[in-house]
């Protein structure tokens, strides 16, 4: 099964909509509740990152019997230092993002915690692509 969503930078009213749709699909498929939570928490953090930091982005979700593969590709400023961005507490978020309850430098580490496989490709001035894979039968 393939799901695709578009995300607009700065559109906080809609942030989380794609994650909400994916949650509904996974529940309909009867995926374990704890796995669903790991998927949607990771996806929501990543979706909020696009809204908070990028101009626009696309989310592609592939679901098969064993796993879910989420690919979030944005056009944005990119991440100059990925290892720094992966540290808890490091953030470049604006005050507006902080007012939304985010921007504490916890998003990428939390995605990493919930994912079985987490890859970041980024190019400064071009954008960032995240690949998040979560196995349905993992024992995390």
């Amino acid at each position: 099964m393939r799901l695709d969503y578009k995300v607009e930078g700065g559109d906080f009213a809609r942030a989380g909509w794609a994650s909400s749709q994916v949650k509904k699909v996974l529940k309909q498929l009867g995926v374990d509740q704890n796995i669903v939570k790991r998927v949607v928490v990771a996806l929501y953090e990543a979706e909020v990152n696009i809204v908070a930091h990028a101009y626009r982005g696309e989310i592609g979700v592939d679901i098969d019997a064993e796993k879910i593969v989420m690919r979030l590709e944005d056009e944005g400023p990119g991440i100059p230092d990925v290892s720094l961005a992966m540290q808890r507490g490091y953030s470049t978020a604006t005050p507006q993002v902080r007012e939304m309850g985010f921007g504490a430098g916890m998003g990428l580490p939390n995605i990493n915690t919930n994912a079985d496989i987490f890859n970041i490709e980024t190019k400064v001035g071009v954008g960032t692509t995240l690949e998040i894979i979560i196995n349905f039968k993992s024992n995390q």
């Binding site: 942030a15 939570k37 939304m100």
Partner: protein, 114 residues
């Protein structure tokens, strides 16, 4: 603790989910930082927050949190209540501060997550 008891203790207004006031909640977590809420592994928890925007409700949805209690006399927009209704959540609102709200509920037996 029943939600009706929670609402009574903190003199809360029920914004949506009035039919679920007999539901029991065991734990509370107070935060304005949704990133912190998203790190919780427990589900049976009530979110106490002063963050009066859609992301508080979205965060509850993603975290499998069924109850959100807004503190500090925040005005809660119709869009927030509508989303809460759509998701089948209970949304409560109190004029009390977060500290007073958490203190009253802790004293009455609501457990912390950690």
């Amino acid at each position: 603790m029943k939600l009706s008891e929670v609402a009574n203790l903190v003199e809360a207004e029920v914004l949506c989910g009035n039919e679920k006031m007999n539901v029991e909640v065991k734990q509370g977590f107070a935060s304005d930082l949704m990133s912190d809420v998203l790190t919780l592994s427990t589900n049976d928890v009530m979110l106490i927050t002063g963050l009066a925007n859609l992301q508080a409700v979205r965060t509850a949805e993603m975290s499998d949190i069924q109850v959100v209690l807004f503190v500090r006399d925040k005005q809660i927009g119709d869009d927030i209540v509508e989303l809460g209704n759509d998701l089948g959540l209970v949304l409560l609102r109190t004029e009390f501060s977060m500290f007073k709200t958490a203190g009253l509920l802790y004293n009455a037996g609501l457990q912390p997550v950690f």
